[in-house]
């Protein structure tokens, strides 16, 4: 083949593949909206789950998701930021133990989520006796998003220029004063972005919560951290797995709520990132 033609067709191949990926996203969203829109109304948001699709709603699932996410964030954020601060500001970079820690975190980020489920089931649900509670579920999800928060926070901390650190040290600051007084405040927007994205991952997680015992049917909204719970994706799974078409439609309506939640979080994250890109 002639060089020019080869070059052009290669260009068009790459370009069309990119557009295809974007097209898939559009089709997916369109398909789900078309199926779900007729069920998405206030009644759907405010009703308890039910055997009949017309009466079924996601009130308990939404409440469960909010409970779970709040406690997941509460547990995971301090651990994630502290770990990232240690690795970036304290640890000797080339030390073999530090490299082990770093590789370990990357591995945890890639560990199948269902294994976190088995871990949570054994440790939180059984050994510590938390039963199938919000506490057990959110601790499990906290472990799952911990590595994601660490990695994102590390990136944000790395983006703080050394000149700030040196300026602070040159004024007689101790390391903790440099880290807490200068580095962390400068890195906060980046860390926030990472946290929001990891939270949206936690919102969509299904498998680990099924393993630690999120219920598919719950008739009341949780009132304490020791209550049983269900979450939106588990509820969706339950409906999607039934053969009846109407249940597929309410599953789609549930997905619309889920995606709306995620897209708004994503939008917030992108906004923070573009507004505070101070050093790039």
């Amino acid at each position: 083949m002639n060089r020019r033609l080869m070059d052009r067709s290669f260009y068009w191949f790459c370009k069309s593949m990119t557009w295809m990926a974007l097209g898939i996203l559009l089709i997916l969203i369109f398909h789900i909206c078309r199926q779900g829109c007729e069920y998405l109304d206030w009644q759907f948001l405010s009703s308890l789950p039910s055997r009949s699709p017309e009466k079924a709603g996601i009130k308990t699932a939404l409440a469960g998701t909010v409970w779970i996410i709040c406690f997941t964030a509460l547990f995971a954020i301090p651990f994630g930021i502290a770990t990232a601060l240690y690795l970036e500001e304290y640890a000797p970079k080339r030390h073999p133990f530090v490299r082990l820690l770093q590789i370990n975190i990357a591995n945890l980020a890639g560990m199948p989520s269902i294994i976190y489920g088995l871990l949570g089931l054994t440790i939180f649900v059984r050994s510590l006796g938390f039963e199938r509670s919000i506490l057990a579920g959110s601790l499990t999800l906290a472990l799952l998003i911990l590595p994601v928060i660490v990695i994102a926070s590390q990136e944000a901390i790395k983006a703080v220029p050394d000149s700030i650190r040196f300026a602070a040290y040159a004024m007689g600051a101790r390391r903790y004063q440099v880290v807490l007084g200068q580095v962390l405040p400068s890195a906060i927007p980046g860390i926030m972005t990472g946290i929001i994205l990891s939270i949206s991952r936690a919102i969509g997680e299904t498998a680990p919560l099924i393993i630690v015992g999120a219920m598919s049917y719950i008739a009341y909204t949780p009132e304490s951290i020791f209550d049983m719970f269900t979450v939106l994706p588990v509820q969706i799974y339950n409906w999607a797995g039934r053969p009846k078409e109407e249940f597929h439609a309410i599953a789609a309506a549930g997905i619309m709520v889920l995606l709306l939640l995620l897209l708004s979080l994503n939008f917030i994250a992108v906004t923070i990132r573009s507004r505070y890109q101070r050093y790039k």
Binding site: M6, C14, T83, Y90, A106, I114, A207, I210, N266
Partner: protein, 295 residues
């Protein structure tokens, strides 16, 4: 004052160290938990029968625990997903790093991030209610739950990851490499084919490994779309079961703790963990290197 801050400085350092060590503790407890819980299983089932048995019927009599059908199901998903995601992902990465203007890149990247952020359960629903009916037009004999649909949707899921890792790889290459080739009058296709791709082979390989590991661990999409029929069929139009889908199935059924079915899910989890663990270690080690060092 000086002594107080000095003491505080020390304490802060050690406090952070405690937090860091929890990340190691997570990995260690995963290993301990999986080994411990599956030891009961291996007291009843011979390890060799488990690894090389070709029948997986834990819920029917006579019970048989040969994991090969589950591994086979998992790898059908992996093969299908990679066959889709690798070429498409590479093409997207090449488009983004070599062809796209700064502005269109800035617009496309966040959209890919959205694609990456869609929960796996949503992809499962999409496969079940959109991809499978679509495939039925092409293959009328296809089952409602089938490996092909699951594999395709997992391919779509890992696509953003493949594209973004490869894109990072291309962009990390020094511009001098491209300039040298363009300076000799090469066309973009030739530069990519003869310079950029060879220079990033190891990164692409690492991406491939990590993508395989992601596909192996993928759960909800395959649970919904690919079915719950452990079989050693290699037919993409049939229903199969992956390792992950089996674990979900056990936990949905009311199996009493310490029964052999319950323990078997930890044994399957152990196999899953070992596979993904080594892939992740290798993949991440290669990615941690600087671009040209890794050649």
């Amino acid at each position: 004052m000086q002594n107080k801050t000095k003491f505080f400085d020390r304490s802060f350092h050690y406090a952070l160290l405690v937090f860091v060590l929890t990340t190691l503790a997570v990995t260690l407890s995963v290993v301990v938990v999986l080994l411990n819980e599956s030891s009961g299983f291996f007291a009843h089932v011979n390890l060799l029968d488990f690894l090389f048995g070709t029948k997986w019927t834990p819920l029917l009599e006579p019970k048989s625990f040969g994991i090969l059908p589950l591994i086979c199901g998992t790898f059908m998903i992996v093969i299908g997903a990679i066959a889709f995601a690798l070429p498409v992902g590479l093409a997207i990465a090449i488009y983004l790093s070599e062809f796209a203007s700064y502005n269109s890149r800035k617009r496309i990247k966040p959209i890919l991030e959205v694609l990456a952020g869609i929960p796996t359960i949503v992809y499962g629903f999409f496969a079940l209610t959109f991809i499978t009916p679509l495939l039925k037009n092409i293959f009328p004999e296809i089952q409602i739950f089938n490996a092909l649909s699951g594999a395709l949707v997992v391919g779509i899921m890992i696509l953003p990851m493949v594209a973004s890792l490869c894109d990072d790889g291309f962009r990390a290459l020094p511009p001098s490499l491209r300039e040298g080739a363009y300076g000799l009058g090469a066309k973009p296709y030739e530069v990519i084919r003869h310079i950029l791709l060879p220079a990033s082979t190891s990164r692409i390989a690492a991406t491939l490994i990590l993508a395989i590991s992601r596909a192996i661990g993928e759960t909800m999409a395959v649970t919904l779309a690919a079915g719950a029929t452990p079989n050693l069929s290699f037919n993409f139009l049939d229903s199969i079961q992956t390792m992950t889908a089996y674990i979900v199935q056990v936990s949905l059924g009311d199996t009493p703790a310490n029964s052999i079915e319950y323990q078997s899910s930890y044994a399957v989890g152990l196999v899953l963990f070992i596979m993904t663990f080594f892939m992740n270690v290798i993949g991440n080690l290669v990615l941690a290197k600087k671009p040209l060092e890794a050649m």
